[in-house]
Symmetry: C2
Subunit: 340 residues, 2 copies
DNA sequence: GTTCGGCTTCACAACGTTGTAAAGTCGCAG
DNA sequence: CTGCGACTTTACAACGTTGTGAAGCCGAAC
């Protein structure tokens, strides 16, 4: 039914191994033979069976990207970056959504699907330090994205969370803001993104000699618009005064901005707002949103590079690596005071 | 190195075929034997080699979703819906980005990757009617999403573009708006989404006895925020008066809203705006954006169902099917006049 | 007590590819 | 003209799974 190497070999008048050699760029082939094979491939429309190749060679050319949810703009853009980086290495990407759910993450990691991929890019969310041992028996090369929750034998690529949040906070301080809200905290969390960013926020305040006011720290469970909106509502209702907001991601910032504007507060005049992630839409909101660009392309590129390295040298006992991408403060209207 | 059926068979004291039978739920197995095999699988941590299974059975359990760009919220949400629908059928999804580029779309369709998937969900953008023959020799089951550009042997699942645009326009008309802008037209296009939506817009105006004014039709190349912003700028500069905007997708609408607000126009008081697609963020903008919900989940579900049907009955010559999902008008603040 | 049919298990041969190792060809140095 | 090495091609055996078909077992029907 389907066209195989045997067909090509027959048409070209060579053995199947020669066809295989041509396809795999084996150097010692007569130019004329190579051409005959290529012609046969063309005229028959032959395409290699990747299952067979995968079976024989142990490589499928597919990597898996595990993220919580594609509807979250940050992860959609991350997926985009990863796919572009993977494309340059001739890899396809299977995206799996964990929904930020512990059981789902575990099921994905241990499921048979992981058997079919050469490597895993795993954006950890729901698993914690205590679960590190669960990854021990996973033999597929893996690179963790986002916060290092495990200290396993895997590479780890992420952004400078603490420094980024610190820079964001310093940016607001430089505008003269002193009552700065942190939006997106997770009560009790220290080692995840929320914890690290909160640390950066506190560091910046400390350096400026401003005490951290618990009333200015807004919890947001899921980092979506709705969470930002809800937290901001609570804050406004509480009556606590503030003149700046550091949101731990852009979605939270946008949700909060919406509530601020509804309440008649001007951005940035009354409240300056800065987000995190530099997702595309921050360029088009009103006002446009200042944010921290976390170096997503760089993260994706390095992560794929690390993975490819481990995939192509399965023997080489490469020690776990850590890579921290650079970030930049992107100033837009939400923190730019226009002289009247 | 890796654990195979042979290992399981040895531990369980049965033949590999029996192990295979257990895994594939073959009914005639003694309960005690089945249990012994399951125990062996468990204790060894055996997971089937999907490449081998794919080679032997011709099925990989993976489908491919070809979309232009994941950074576009509509497609990210579509991908999410497709992945959820696929998960219920135990299928993994490889996402390929075509970048709305003809050559890339062709390369993807003909590339070796397509050899490895059981089916293709193809969101056509760059290929046109004239390219229909290019799909003739693609044997993999395929379902087209979005506008039917080909009249090939494939199924086709889409929304009611014309009716949706018509309903959106009628919605603005019902608010008493008479000078309604259409944003997102593609000059000369008739059969794509842009053409169909423009037709719906024109139909609604005709029914209301309003002539179509060319000056109110805004071209937008790529349907992104930037395009909507740019087109709206041109429109404002032209000085043409208008009191409503039907944008052909939400991104365009949001870009346009941003420019309208910058220009000091109130939404919806001065200009009512309605979009298309009901992407998540329309719920959190200021004002929230009225839009057409295109039934994305329904589209994804039906598309995957069609694909699965064709995958599981490769012989059955199922005639090409057409499915039009239902849509709803979602009224939000951008078209809701609040009594003063 | 023989036959039949349902249950249970298994040996064997694929699926399409690539790694191994070896056989052949050829030109050139010895 | 022999031997050597570089080039060129090939046969064969995997890789791990499932489809085919057949064998063995057992109780029920004749």
């Amino acid at each position: 039914m389907s066209i195989t190497m045997h067909d090509v070999a027959r048409v070209a008048g060579v053995s199947i191994k020669t066809v295989s050699n041509v396809i795999n760029d084996y150097p010692y082939i007569r130019a004329e033979t190579r051409q005959r094979v290529l012609d046969a491939i063309d005229s028959l429309g032959y395409r290699p069976n990747l299952s067979a190749r995968g079976l024989r060679s142990g490589r499928t050319g597919v990597i898996s990207l595990i993220i919580p949810d594609l509807r979250n703009a940050y992860f959609a853009e991350l997926a985009d970056s990863v796919m572009r980086a993977a494309a340059t290495k001739n890899l396809s990407v299977i995206i799996e959504q964990s929904g930020d759910d512990r059981e789902t993450e575990l099921a994905l990691l241990r499921g048979p699907r992981m058997q079919m991929v050469d490597g895993i890019l795993y954006s950890v969310l729901a698993l914690g330090e205590d679960d590190a041992h669960l990854l021990d028996d996973i033999r597929t090369p893996m690179v963790l994205l986002g916060e290092r929750i495990f200290h396993g034998p895997t590479d780890h690529v992420t952004m400078r969370n603490t420094e980024g949040a610190r820079a964001a906070t310093e940016h607001l301080l430089s505008l003269g803001r002193r009552r700065i809200v942190a939006l997106g905290a997770h009560r009790g969390e220290v080692i995840g993104s929320a914890g690290l960013r909160l640390t950066g926020y506190a560091e910046a305040l400390a350096e400026a000699g401003i005490p951290v006011d618990d009333a200015l720290i807004g919890e947001v469970g899921g980092w979506f618009r709705s969470g930002g909106a809800q937290a901001m509502k609570l804050l406004l209702d509480s009556g606590v005064p503030f003149d700046g907001v550091v949101a731990f991601n852009d979605s939270i910032a946008l949700g909060a901005m919406r509530i601020l504007q509804e309440a008649g507060l001007r951005i940035p005049d009354d409240v300056a707002v800065i987000g995190f992630d530099d997702i595309d839409e921050t360029r088009y909101t009103l006002p446009t949103l200042s944010t921290i660009n976390p170096g997503r392309d760089e993260i994706a590129r390095v992560a794929v590079d690390y993975l490819v390295e481990r995939i192509s040298n399965p023997e080489a006992e490469i020690p776990p690596r850590e890579y921290l991408a650079g970030f930049t403060v992107v100033q837009r209207e939400s923190t730019t005071i226009v002289a009247p």
